[in-house]
Symmetry: C3
Subunit: 343 residues, 3 copies
Amino acid sequence: MAKTNAGNFFEDYKIGQVIRHAVPRTVSGGERALYHALYPARHALYSSDEFARAAGLPGAPMDDLITFHTVFGKTVPDVSLNAVANLGYAEGRFLKPVYEGDTLRSESEVIGLKQNSNGKSGVVYVRTRGLNQRDEAVLEYVRWVMVRKRDQDAPAPEAVLPDLAKVVPASDLVIPEGLTFRNYDFDLAGEAHRWGDYEVGEQIDHVDGVTIEEAEHMIATRLWQNTAKVHFDATFRPDGQRLIYGGHVISMARALSFNGLANAQMIVGLNGGAHANPCFSGDTVKAWSEVLDKAETSAPGVGAIRLRLVATKGGAPFALKGEDGKYLPEVLLDLDYWALIPV
Amino acid sequence: MAKTNAGNFFEDYKIGQVIRHAVPRTVSGGERALYHALYPARHALYSSDEFARAAGLPGAPMDDLITFHTVFGKTVPDVSLNAVANLGYAEGRFLKPVYEGDTLRSESEVIGLKQNSNGKSGVVYVRTRGLNQRDEAVLEYVRWVMVRKRDQDAPAPEAVLPDLAKVVPASDLVIPEGLTFRNYDFDLAGEAHRWGDYEVGEQIDHVDGVTIEEAEHMIATRLWQNTAKVHFDATFRPDGQRLIYGGHVISMARALSFNGLANAQMIVGLNGGAHANPCFSGDTVKAWSEVLDKAETSAPGVGAIRLRLVATKGGAPFALKGEDGKYLPEVLLDLDYWALIPV
Amino acid sequence: MAKTNAGNFFEDYKIGQVIRHAVPRTVSGGERALYHALYPARHALYSSDEFARAAGLPGAPMDDLITFHTVFGKTVPDVSLNAVANLGYAEGRFLKPVYEGDTLRSESEVIGLKQNSNGKSGVVYVRTRGLNQRDEAVLEYVRWVMVRKRDQDAPAPEAVLPDLAKVVPASDLVIPEGLTFRNYDFDLAGEAHRWGDYEVGEQIDHVDGVTIEEAEHMIATRLWQNTAKVHFDATFRPDGQRLIYGGHVISMARALSFNGLANAQMIVGLNGGAHANPCFSGDTVKAWSEVLDKAETSAPGVGAIRLRLVATKGGAPFALKGEDGKYLPEVLLDLDYWALIPV
């Protein structure tokens, strides 16, 4: 048993500790094709080299969420193998597009620790950075998870709670070098709606739904080398169900949001996110969005739009929380992100 | 709701209207690998760069049906989102092979309209062209679908019925530039049968069968960015079944036809096709073929063979229609195409 | 029926006969991405071009088992279409890494024949070689299968039993040209354990499990163009079950063995293997390993480790055979291989 990775427990983390996560990954057209096969992804910038070139990029980058899942997946064996719950995200920024042939790895720094009052677990905050083969950061975000203690008698560390921004300021968003939406072809993109057509407070029902199969979420989650047992092993939970990786729901909802937000091309910021309820095979995922904010950027023809993306498994669109302030049982995901859209 | 695409209804189409379909797509080795994973495809010309080079091509093209599905998928949001039925195909020609790195988009021209006598729907005929990044046509075909009206009181347009060829004449087939079967390696191709070994009227039972899973047809259909709800959302039909994309059955049957038609390498013409009955997960698809015609071509060592490809879900091979002239309930597909085969 | 391949029967094989198997295959990043999507594969040498370059290779090769499955799959229509059972493997050696763009084909020589005493079937031994586009051997192995006779009255051939090595001697293993583990990054590889940390006789429970779905094993098996009906057609067996390709279990178990053997990077020898019991959809596959031997190599920093890899569907780790000397019913695979590991 000594050879296998039992994962870290709460008392293993120290403030300031930097973890170099294992298994770098080179991405190719294979990952891109699989992304399009696993999610109804249609944003033109990621689908067409030609469309991306017209937007000033050298070719179509990997979907931003390929980057997110790849970077995230590497952290699982070190951060969340003994996690009881994934509690939140903050201060996420996509810093550089990832292209075919790039090799990604991840590093995390422990920036917060707080033992729970029950003494059995604690909350660990890490700031994770994804790096390419030139050691350039492509993504960074903060995640916090509740992790079990190995030994309940281990002393509680001094509580450190990081001061996290509720929203990434628009001025901190990183626009990919050279990006322009001046020559944007709205026909090819699929919709005519531009930055000016969306109003803060506007809600969009994305209409389409996808019923999820075991094979699909496992194929997707493995693709990101995410190893959490609970996604793959039907004997792991007493109820015999495989819990679907929360990121699978993020990608499904983002892809479904094409219908109404086809021009919200690139994700550049991740302000926050909650996996409100578990998703299982057989659930039919639908999505709706709400415009939370808008901002200008310095790139030609490029605006920023802040969106709430909600994934549900049934229920009416636009319903989010009950009178008790808790997420409704059919809500799977409540994500807050910034995207770039032509003005 | 104004932001999402509700699709076109019958009264939205006008004769001569040209629709530039959205979401261009760059294809790579990823799409090719997925095609081989989703269908038992073994035609050597699409499997091996070396085999394709020996046949005078720069490398293995994408399977012709990758091109078909990609071009077709883009038309769905504009042409068949509100379709009641996909009625037929005609005058299909593959005009240029598609290679890794090519970017495909689609355009359709409305060439026929006829309102149904019930006033609730009508038939729309479109001629669709797939174009690569050099605006060269790679594929064209006519498809007609029955589309609902939004407003039953909308006036009927003047009926225009296109004059469609029952069969693409062999002389109109486009042979890829440089193609030769002079150095054809029958061992590597998998069978010894050449053009001269097939007789008009000959029937071939392809023997093998594949039982279809939900995850597979959804992965395939998404890969082509086909968004029709009925393929993905188990809550969409009253019976809770997801209707399998007809093109999935085409590819499955074509791949199964390798066993007996391994040398019918390239599809160059699509004369007609009917999706005779719906296919659902759990069905076991088998296929049989009938030689309908043969023709010579000007390319060295290359002959043309016209084939009927029938997909079934059970039943005896070679049974097609009942005494009433209707397709038997187990028949899924009746496709009429031209392929290139060594003489 | 004359056009389709009915496969070879026992009396069709002759000692010394060489079969050139059909359908060469060019592999790309697509095959690699699919491998990572279908199996929880994380060995860094196959995941990262950068890691592979640091190890002296031009880039990340295809996983050795991609090579194995691709070469093996081509033999199925000629060798095992009428096989009753896959009996064993021996003298397997990986001779050259396979990279993106390589085209693989297979050849087999019949090296042994022995009719069974029942007169209904016999055992066929073939030595199969995988060749790349330069006709360089990339893999060779011996496999023997029990094959039905077409005609029970066909005379028995003279029995020839090849003299097969029980184990590939370490001195016969082929180390890829230029391979070095001198600059090996154990953090990125995922574990700290090196050659010297493993003891002969040591057993490792790989802990993780994967519940298998129909869609996944069919996608994988098709990817290797393996056409055996029993894997795909639910109407083929009386019990309606699709038998899972034994190679799927090999890849699943090898990938699971990362957890405890993350540094056993490359498979270079295949000493033997038994598919002890059939695997079906719904089974949860787990794996354990035993260190059988260790050897030094001439490559810098590179040691060899001989491992038994056992896949199970439940039961306690390290249980293999019952008192009767037969495999326990939960054992799926017992594989004996050599891998390269940093010293």
